[in-house]
């Protein structure tokens, strides 16, 4: 399954946050979306997932047109996402949040709940099993009974990632999954995303961590003030002077070095 965004335009009052952007997120690939702060990356994601109604443009999954502004429909079409500022059920435990991530649970129907208890119980057991596995991968195994609202900033990021994994979606949209996550777990995330890609999923990755973008992305799209200014493989894009000027600025090597010896 692939995601296609065509001629997307989003305006907020006088500001054009996304200006006629088209983007392909093919299956089995990781597509990067980068750009300066406020260039419209999250907005693209919000429009693609129906959280926001675009002024123009259309969203297609597997060549099927999606209704704008209906996040539920979009999600049922197989699209899953994380938010830059984590959205969680704060008064539920980590484990419950994970369980809630799974789709199509018979136990959520009143009828089966009261008349097919066996089916409900079976489904619940298999979901729990998956949740335990994912819990380990995101490094929160010890926190399963902690309320999500009582997690640290980074842990919340990880949990939203876990919920996305539970959903088993074919198209994944990740908004800065690595921000606030510690380096060791970023490595883990990279491995995870690679394996998801290899399973044939379509992944759109918004990230300011250029190391991660270089290592993971098959192609990268760069936005600036809502306009697509570059598109191509990570290396080419990172050498593009326009991208350097607006987004990357000086390379780390040129930065005023203090205690250089520390990272040798």
């Amino acid at each position: 399954m692939s995601l296609k965004i065509k001629n997307l335009t989003v305006r907020f009052g006088g500001q054009t946050a996304v200006d006629d952007v088209s983007l392909d997120v093919p299956a089995g690939q990781i597509t990067g979306l980068v750009g300066p702060n406020g260039s419209g990356k999250s907005t693209v994601m919000n429009a693609a997932t129906g959280v926001l109604v675009p002024d123009r443009g259309s969203i297609h999954i597997k060549d099927k047109l999606l209704h704008p502004g209906r996040p539920g429909d979009t999600a049922r079409a197989g699209l899953g996402r994380t938010f830059q500022i984590p959205r969680l059920a704060r008064r539920l435990t980590v484990f419950q949040n994970l369980l809630a991530g799974a789709r199509d649970q018979p136990g959520e129907q009143l009828f089966s709940l009261f008349f097919r208890p066996r089916r409900v119980a079976d489904a619940e057991r298999s979901i729990e099993k998956r949740a335990h596995a994912i819990l380990k991968r995101i490094g929160l195994a010890a926190k399963l009974n902690t309320l999500a609202g009582e997690l640290s900033g980074g842990q919340q990021k990880l949990l939203t990632m876990g919920m996305l994994l539970m959903s088993d979606c074919k198209v994944l949209l990740l908004d800065e999954p690595a921000a606030g996550v510690n380096p060791a777990l970023i490595e883990e995330q990279i491995l995870l995303l690679q394996s998801l890609r290899d399973e044939g999923r379509a992944i759109l990755l918004v990230e300011h961590n250029m190391g991660m973008i270089s290592r993971l992305c098959d192609s990268v799209c760069v936005l600036d003030s809502g306009i697509k200014i570059a598109h191509g493989d990570p290396e080419t894009v990172q050498r593009d002077p326009r991208v350097i000027a607006s987004y990357l600025s000086m390379q780390p090597e040129q930065a005023p070095a203090k205690s250089q010896e520390a990272h040798q």
């Binding site: 999600a75 959205r87 059920a89 136990g107």
Partner: protein, 290 residues
């Protein structure tokens, strides 16, 4: 005395069913319903209308059983596009509309004269029926709360957008829980009408909704056992103060007011010292896998 306790138990039991119903909507799903007295009134008037047209008690129960969730499905409709605060006021308004209609259109609800209802013969029968209804409500509520459905309703309570990006339509969940809980409240209303033998609009004023809210919050929103305890506590508080009031020698109207002041005071103290209720909501526990 024992008859008195049985009667108080009956009333508290009916109130407990209403509180369970409200808890399913608010405590579990986060729907702020300030018109909880509406399904109660619908149920009660179901009994009244059945008696008036001589349809018999079962027909009345059937009316309540069908009318309450149907109204529920209609009332929850605006929740689809609206912040919770507004839904609260809409339910409050709709409950008032229903009451004022019953009051001012005699053809519907007997107008200001109310409707007579077949009365239950004896307290013990009404008490047993109340306990039975309470037990059913308890089982249903617990089953919902401890299931994937309850979990998803909790997610909706916390964040509707999250629920929809998880592929659920929050509105459908809200609708089914409102319908389910209104069935319970409607039955409670029907039972109540048969206990008092009379329905009148003045029994369904906004203030009754607050009694139910008080029971739920005081007992602990989110937990079935909590809201039941809350209902019994509120009933015990309002009646026990009558006995305290009897001991003084002050003029009767001053005593009556001081009694209510005491109720207010106890309520405030309870909530200040146990803001999460007598039985606070528990977090689910899962065992770690190794």
């Amino acid at each position: 005395m024992i008859e008195f306790l049985i009667y108080m138990g009956t009333i508290a039991g009916i109130w407990a069913v209403l509180a369970i119903s409200l808890n399913l909507q608010f405590g579990i799903t986060g729907l702020v319903n300030f018109g909880q007295v509406l399904p109660f009134a619908i149920g009660a008037y179901g009994a009244g209308i059945a008696t008036r047209h001589e349809l018999g008690i079962p027909a009345g129960v059937l009316i309540s059983l069908i009318a309450a969730p149907v109204f529920g499905a209609l009332v929850v409709w605006p929740a689809r596009r609206m912040a919770q605060d507004y839904w609260a006021l809409i339910t409050l308004g709709l409950a008032e509309i229903f009451r004022l209609l019953m009051m001012n259109v005699p053809a519907l609800g007997g107008g200001v004269y109310g409707l007579s209802v077949t009365r239950m013969p004896g307290w013990s029968i009404s008490f047993s029926l109340t306990l039975a209804l309470l037990a059913v409500a308890y089982v249903i509520s617990e089953r919902v709360i401890r299931s994937p459905l309850g979990r998803m309703l909790n997610v909706i309570r916390e964040d509707e957008i999250l629920a929809s990006t998880l592929g659920r339509d929050p509105f459908r969940y809200q609708r089914s829980i409102v319908m389910l809980s209104w069935v319970l409240a409607g039955l409670a209303g029907n039972l109540y009408a048969h206990v008092t033998g009379y329905v009148h609009e003045s029994s369904f004023m906004v203030i009754e909704t607050f009694v139910i809210w008080t029971a739920m919050i005081l007992g602990g929103a989110g937990r079935t056992i909590g809201v039941i305890a809350g209902a019994f506590f509120v009933q015990a508080l309002t009646t026990s103060t009558r006995f305290i009031a009897q001991w003084t020698d002050l003029p009767s109207d001053v005593v009556a007011n001081l009694r209510l002041a005491l109720v207010g005071l106890v309520l405030v103290l309870m909530i200040v010292y146990r803001p999460a209720g007598i039985f606070a909501e528990r977090r689910a526990r899962h065992v770690a896998e190794d």
